[in-house]
Symmetry: C2
DNA sequence: TATGCTTGTGTGACCATGTCACAGACGAAG
DNA sequence: CTTCGTCTGTGACATGGTCACACAAGCATA
């Protein structure tokens, strides 16, 4: 409960992040202290932001002021950046890496709600912040995360004064809400074979390989490990893929794709 | 698709709303044209807003300007105010009545995502508007709806200039997102008997009566009518309630409540 | 090379939920 | 009273989730 600190220590400018707890997903490292560059580095921030057209085009003075108080942050993979029930402090803008936002049930089952990818902002932070609520889910870094942290006060000034930033933030909200509604639809009405098949396609590399355990896939889809195992076995029986320990190899991509549109 | 108009006709100041399509919920009336008061009526708006402390306390000039261009709207019960796939035009603030926001599957099953009650704003509208997306769900009035409509341009000015309005809007977003996450959790991990029992408690009046069809409850919970029927029958068998046509009477409230915490 | 440990996978039995088909019951309209 | 549309009940079956447990693949260590 009280083991997370996500605020700058005034004297040392050190950002403390604790990662504890359990997750069925990969990347379960537990890190404790993440050092942060002690001074504002506009050059770095400008360089990072330059990859993202929505914001890099902005040149209004308020946005520039916001950037001046922004602080670059680096967080190792597998760190819990916020947990269910926490309060929160900063507005985070992801430059590189991703944060997996997930919900965990009492019985241990998990479901991934969405990911905050590079070029996106963690709107859950904002929304908690401004509606004085606690996080309704937890967020875990999936890769080494580079992000820009903006204090609440500056975030608010940015929203007030920069039409471009405002537009960006509301866009983020819109996409997240649409994502969540899609997820509700999927979970409530979707069939497991289709959802799993789709997930396989999404996470396969160019060679049709997927390096995930069944448990990880179950946590992604919000189902049980056995269900994934059974379904994958059935896919293998049909000759669409080959199973290995912690790895899957898609051998008949067209057939798998075809199944997604013609389930029967 | 093209049968909805939700913009003021410049010459006549008439708000056109068409309600068509099918829904398994109640209130299936199809209305066509909703006349709207032709002039701005600050008195009416002030009176309505006075019931909602979050906004009525605001006296900054920008918010007052927003209110000056706000238009009161009345929409009959059962009207589809927006449908899945639509674009949108106005920011709506509900004064009285409620809008049910739901998602419909291809096979006809439905699920209620949330309700926009009196004192709340339809953030889906805003989010679509500002992220240039289409509605990912549909909205239907459940009672006679009184609302205040604010044009996009003024909404944007309000966000920029009024800290109070900004805070209100972000609060709305936060609550909706939290609601949706709770719903995902419920649908993904929750048991049907618990969800149904909870819904019964929530929708019963003081006498323990619920005037809803099994189909309506199924649409609320995103399940099938048969499942609700079976579950209710089981509740009746246990002596917790009595079933009637289109109505349920809770006869043992304590036992029902107890089941929600001790399912077994 | 054996040994034991941890993690990942396979499987059968059983319960919960969703689908389908169809019967019957109720109430309103004629 | 009949007719009709709506609402409810039910059995059979398909899918998905839970539980218990076996077994296999990798890894570390003796």
């Amino acid at each position: 409960m009280l083991c997370r600190h996500f605020a700058a220590d005034k004297s040392s400018q050190i950002l403390l992040i604790r990662a504890e707890g359990q997750s069925n997903m990969q990347n379960k490292k537990n890190e404790f202290v993440v050092p942060e560059p002690p001074r504002l580095d506009r050059t770095v921030i400008d360089e990072w932001l330059s990859h993202f057209p929505e914001l890099s085009g902005l040149d209004d003075p308020v946005w520039q002021k916001v950037l001046d108080s922004a602080r670059p942050v680096e967080i190792p993979s597998g760190t819990t950046v916020f947990r269910d029930g926490d309060g929160c402090q900063n507005y985070m803008f992801v430059i590189e890496g991703a944060v997996r936002v997930q919900k965990m049930a009492e019985n241990g089952r998990e479901i991934v709600l969405y990911r905050v990818n590079a070029g996106e902002a963690c709107i859950l932070t904002t929304s908690c912040l401004l509606s004085h609520q606690r996080y309704p889910a937890e967020g875990i870094t999936e890769n080494k995360l580079r992000a820009i942290s903006i204090p609440v006060k500056l975030f608010d000034e940015g929203i007030a004064g920069s039409a471009g930033f405002r537009s960006f933030v509301f866009s983020s909200y819109g996409r997240r809400i649409a994502d969540l509604i899609l997820l509700v639809e999927d979970v409530a009405f979707g069939r497991m074979d289709i959802r799993l098949g789709q997930y396989l396609l999404d996470s396969a590399n160019d060679d049709g390989e997927i390096a995930l355990t069944h448990q990880a896939m179950a946590a992604e889809l919000g189902t049980a490990r056995e269900v994934v195992s059974r379904q994958l076995k059935e896919f293998e029986r049909r000759g669409w893929l080959k199973l290995g320990r912690g790895a899957i190899n898609i051998s008949d991509l067209p057939a798998l794709k075809d199944h997604l549109s013609t389930p029967i």
